[in-house]
Symmetry: C2
Subunit: 180 residues, 2 copies
């Protein structure tokens, strides 16, 4: 089944962006590659605020070539415009629909509030995190409270130059409570 | 010089405890040891709330044998009681005093608000983090906003059983801005 992968770069204190949406603290070291990630993804979903910040910061271009992009918005009319499809269904119903279609995995691009909704509905199958070695002190959290506890299994942990660490976690539902 | 080490176990979403102070989500895998950490520490500092939660959860015992413990509190009278010393100086002045004395490194035990004060005053020399593979959804943040940006250098990243990762970062002051 197609997986939902929350893939974000974060500060060590868990922010995906500064309060104004800028991500200047993130970096991509030369020895790190997102190629494996993009190979398994053909669809991206994002929240309206992430879309708007993308517009502002990306000079009007939010979509990624070769990736079908959906924007969740209760304010924009649903439908396809400018390489993007606007959605105003609840995430759960929309994702159930997406999963019935043939395709590769689905990238949840973050944007705090949409992530919270996905986590509330337990729709996140995998976390793909790049953690940079800086505390930025305030910003847009990757995992905004509140949602029920979700346990994961660590499947990858690698260090790259300039102190980036790349972590991959898989959601294991119905696991027995871990005691150690 | 004696270093201040923020040493905490955290959830993947950056909480040191649940909203009620409980830390049942943390665990210590058999292949992981805190011995190296405790070997370099002879002093611990904590905030009043951490102290009170420790009292509640630890059955009245907060101090660690062999470690001189200080509690920052504006509400408690300063002085030594019950194996602990209460302090109502500002952290910066107190730490400057501690650093002038002979001794090993100093453990900042966390407790969100005290950590914020230490980070504001740029008193944290090292981060020693154990990250467990669970999103708890709400709680007491390890790094509560707001404080100025603080850059670190990754010096250790190891994975242990049950998905614990242990990270060590050193503060490097006056670094040039990293671009990659």
């Amino acid at each position: 089944m197609r997986k939902i992968v929350l893939g974000v770069g974060i500060s060590l204190d868990g922010y995906i962006a500064r309060p104004d949406g800028s991500v200047d603290f993130l970096f991509m070291p030369k020895d790190y590659s997102m190629a494996a990630f993009f190979k398994r993804i053909d669809t991206a979903v994002m929240g309206r605020k992430t879309y708007e910040m993308g517009l502002k910061l990306g000079g009007g271009n939010v979509s990624t070539p070769g990736i079908k992009s959906y924007v969740f918005s209760r304010m924009q009319e649903a439908g396809k415009r400018d390489e993007l499809t606007f959605v105003n269904e609840p995430p759960k119903r929309f994702v159930e629909g997406l999963r019935k279609k043939e395709g590769k995995d689905i990238w949840l691009m973050g944007g705090g509030e949409l992530t919270r909704e996905f986590l509330r509905d337990d729709l996140v199958d995998e976390l793909y995190l790049g953690v940079v070695p800086v505390l930025i002190g305030e910003g847009i959290p990757a995992f905004p409270s509140a949602f029920p506890e979700r346990k994961f299994v660590l499947v990858e942990n690698n260090s790259y130059s300039k102190g980036l660490i790349a972590l991959r976690y898989e959601r294991r539902k119905g696991q027995k409570k871990q005691n150690a």
